[in-house]
Amino acid sequence: MSVTRITVDGEPVDATAGSSLTAAFVAARRWRLRDNPVSGEPRGPFCGMGVCFECEVTVDGRPGVRACLTRVVPGMTVETGAPVETGPPSVGTRP
């Protein structure tokens, strides 16, 4: 019962319910969770304890979730690679 399915970037991924979400990524060899907003370089989980913010992903629509502090729940939907906060569309209209 503990092996479950989650969705990562639209693809099904096997994960263990109750384990950390970073463990699911590592087990699936999905290291690249985001690109650095300045350099564009790939980044992945580093400290595993909530300090480095390199493992931020969007979980069930909530952005900026640290995967290392998140437990796998059956059916959860994860988006990687998105900017931390998306904000509204750019709408400054004045010249």
Binding site: P37, G64, G87, S90, V91, G92, T93, R94
Partner: protein, 389 residues
Amino acid sequence: MSARTADAVVIGAGVLGAAAAFHLARAGHRVIVVDRGAPGREGSGTTAGNLHVQAVHTRRPGQEVPLDSARFLPLQRAASDRWEKVEAELDASVELRRSGGFTIAETPEQRAELIAKHAWEERAGIATEVLDGDGARAALPLLGPTVTAATWCPLDGYANPLLTTPAYLAAAVRHGAQVRPFSPVRAVERSGSGWRVTAGTDAPIETPRVLDVAGPWLGEIAALAGIRLAMTPVAIQMHVTVRLPETLRHLVQHIGEGLSVKQVTAGNLLVGGGWPARRFDPDGRSPISAASVLGNMAQAARVLPFVRELRLLRAWAGPLAATPDEMPVIGEVPGAPGFLVAGGTYAFTFAPLWGETLRCLAEGTAPPVDVHDLGPDRLITPVSFEEAR
């Protein structure tokens, strides 16, 4: 140690001191700039870098005397024009941008104030446009439903404060100025018809002119020379969110409350407006006030509801020196020939104009704007100043 000499000693390597040093050095004067710490670290390194061209709100949170907008606006106009020359004369980019700004109103009183301010702006030759609430939201759909009116000013802008002070200092040095960081001033004494300034471990400097542009420490430096000035150092807060894609291209301010919001080049949203820190600490570690964090961020989220979705990354406090009437101070101290001061709120907007003005005052020539009523005389005896009002 034998004494050194200079044509002018500038105390404070903030943006005002840097601009004054540049203008003096470019005119051929031998200038020494001294600072207690690293250049541009205090108010000039912690400011949001806004160029305020349309009328600002007249009360910072906690401010007692409102600013005299009618007198202030022509100065803002002159300051705005002066910024246009900065990048060329410094031969450096300071990321000067005229992205325009909105000043918003929520209450009927604030709306009336916006309309009054628009009339003053027209008189001062500053183009602004008054919009009703829906007009403001059409122009900037990020504005929330509580906004009932706004003025739009295309001249409101930004310069990067972390580039501006170093660019001024570098240009001053190219013209022969000396900069002495980490040299706290220990003594300012009369010496013959001039002054002797002792800073750090260097030999004293003999000079006919002292420019006290020490920001929050302006009063402290003046006191070393035996001059008492009614300047109050305060620390105000800035708040910055995590990065987001380019969303807000304009400066957004509030006419009735301390609020300014803009998005910086790196993508973070910067929220300020003069909310007070817990206290001013002269050693540069003013602790922030949580009440100010909550108050300032709540305003920002009310006026710009998308702020609700963001996360606050960091808050810090930066110092400024306020005058009792909130108007700038610039001029020679009566009874202390050669001792000039400049400071007050909005010093960043005024820096290029005041740099040139200080050079003129030091040389005894006519300054680019009339500043006779902004001199430090009104700060020397606060009681008679109050009576005069």
